[in-house]
C-alpha cells in the first residue's frame, strides 16, 4: 500500500461532507457544511480545487444540473463519492482510529 492511498486532511473532510450531503452535494452546500462542522472558513476555490483533484484520482464523480434563476441562470455541479472514494475514506478513517487508540489526552483535551 502506498501513501497515495491515504487522503489528505482536507480531502478527507470534503469526502465526509459529500457523504453527509448525499444528493445535495454541490459547491455551496459542501462549503457551508464544512464551515458549520469544522468552524473554519473555507473558500469556494479550495473546495473546487480539491474536488477536481479527487475526481482525477477517481474518488468522486460529478455531473451538471439544470440552470437555475437564483444562480443567475447557471447550473449546479453535483458531486458523489465513488466506490474507490469510499474505500479511501474507510482506509484513512481506520488509520486515524488506530493511531488515536489509547491516547487519553485527546479525549481529555476535547
Amino acid at each position: 500500500m502506498s501513501n497515495r492511498d491515504y487522503l489528505g486532511e482536507f480531502e478527507h473532510i470534503i469526502l465526509l461532507a459529500l457523504l453527509r450531503l448525499q444528493d445535495r452535494a454541490y459547491g455551496v452546500n459542501v462549503r457551508q457544511e464544512i464551515e458549520s462542522c469544522t468552524h473554519r472558513e473555507v473558500s469556494v476555490g479550495a473546495v473546487y480545487a480539491t474536488l477536481d483533484r479527487l475526481e482525477k484520482k477517481g474518488y468522486v464523480k460529478s455531473w451538471f444540473g439544470e440552470p437555475t434563476p437564483e444562480r443567475g441562470g447557471r447550473s449546479k455541479r453535483f458531486f458523489t463519492v465513488t466506490a474507490k472514494g469510499m474505500t479511501a475514506v474507510n482506509r484513512t478513517q481506520h488509520a486515524l482510529q488506530t493511531m488515536t487508540e489509547g491516547l487519553d489526552f485527546i479525549r481529555s483535551s476535547s
Binding site: S43, G45, Y48, E70
Partner: protein, 213 residues
C-alpha cells in the same frame, strides 16, 4: 424567485477574474456558486457586506485555482514560461529597429520633427508593450487551459529578473525607476495577452456548446 436584479450584481471584475482561471461548465458552476451565496448574503446582511464577502472569496478562489494549476502541471508550465522568456528576448529587440527603419525610410526627422521625437521615445515604449502582448498571446496559445497562470508566472519571472538586475548593479537604478511604468505596462500586457486568448477560447467553446444540433 431571486434574480440578480433583486439584490444587485456581484462585482464584475471579481467575477471576470475568477472566470479566467477556470474553463467551460466548471467556470459556470463555480461562478454560479459564488452568485448564489452573494444573493443570500445580500438579502440577509446587505449589499456592501455581500460585496466584501464576494471579493474575499474571489481572491482566495483565484489563489487556490492558480496554485492547483501550478501543482497539476509544474513541468509543462515551467517549459512554457522558459519558451516565453526566450520569445520575449527575441521579440523585445524588434520594436526599436523596426520603428527607426520606418523613421529613416520616410525621412520623418526632416518633415515632422515632433512626430520623430514621439516615435523615437514613447513610440518605442508602446512598441514594446504591443510586443509583450503578442508574447502573452503566443505563450497562452501554447498553454491551453492554463493561459492566465502561465502568463502571470512569466510576468512575475520577468519582474523578478529585472528587480535582481537592478539590485545587483550599482548603476542604472535611476533609469530603471524612470522606465518603471513602461516595464510595468510590458508585464501587464503579457497577462492581458493571456486573458485575451483565454476569452477567445471560452467564447469559441461556448458558441460550440450552444450551437443547435
Amino acid at each position: 424567485m431571486i434574480s440578480d436584479k433583486d439584490f444587485g450584481r456581484p462585482p464584475f471584475i471579481a467575477t471576470w477574474l475568477v472566470s479566467r482561471f477556470v474553463t467551460g461548465k466548471e467556470a459556470e458552476s463555480l461562478v454560479g456558486d459564488l452568485f448564489e451565496e452573494f444573493s443570500s448574503i445580500a438579502s440577509t446582511s446587505g449589499i456592501a457586506s455581500a460585496q466584501r464577502w464576494y471579493w474575499r472569496q474571489a481572491g482566495k478562489t483565484v489563489a487556490h485555482l492558480a496554485a492547483g494549476t501550478l501543482r497539476s502541471a509544474p513541468f509543462f508550465i515551467a517549459a512554457t514560461v522558459i519558451g516565453g522568456l526566450l520569445l520575449n528576448r527575441v521579440v523585445s529587440g524588434l520594436p526599436e529597429p523596426a520603428i527607426f527603419a520606418v523613421l529613416h525610410r520616410y525621412r520623418i526627422f526632416d518633415r515632422h520633427f515632433s512626430a520623430y521625437v514621439f516615435l523615437a521615445t514613447d513610440g518605442i515604449a508602446i512598441g514594446h508593450v504591443v510586443a509583450s502582448m503578442l508574447v502573452g498571446c503566443v505563450v497562452a496559445l501554447a498553454a491551453k487551459g492554463k493561459e492566465l497562470v502561465t502568463t502571470t508566472t512569466l510576468s512575475l519571472v520577468l519582474c523578478a529578473m529585472a528587480g535582481a538586475v537592478v539590485f545587483l548593479s550599482s548603476e542604472g537604478q535611476g533609469l530603471f525607476l524612470w522606465m518603471l511604468p513602461w516595464y510595468l505596462a510590458d508585464w501587464v500586457a503579457i497577462v492581458v495577452g493571456g486573458a485575451f486568448v483565454h476569452m477567445c477560447r471560452s467564447a469559441s467553446r461556448d458558441s460550440r456548446f450552444s450551437r443547435p444540433v
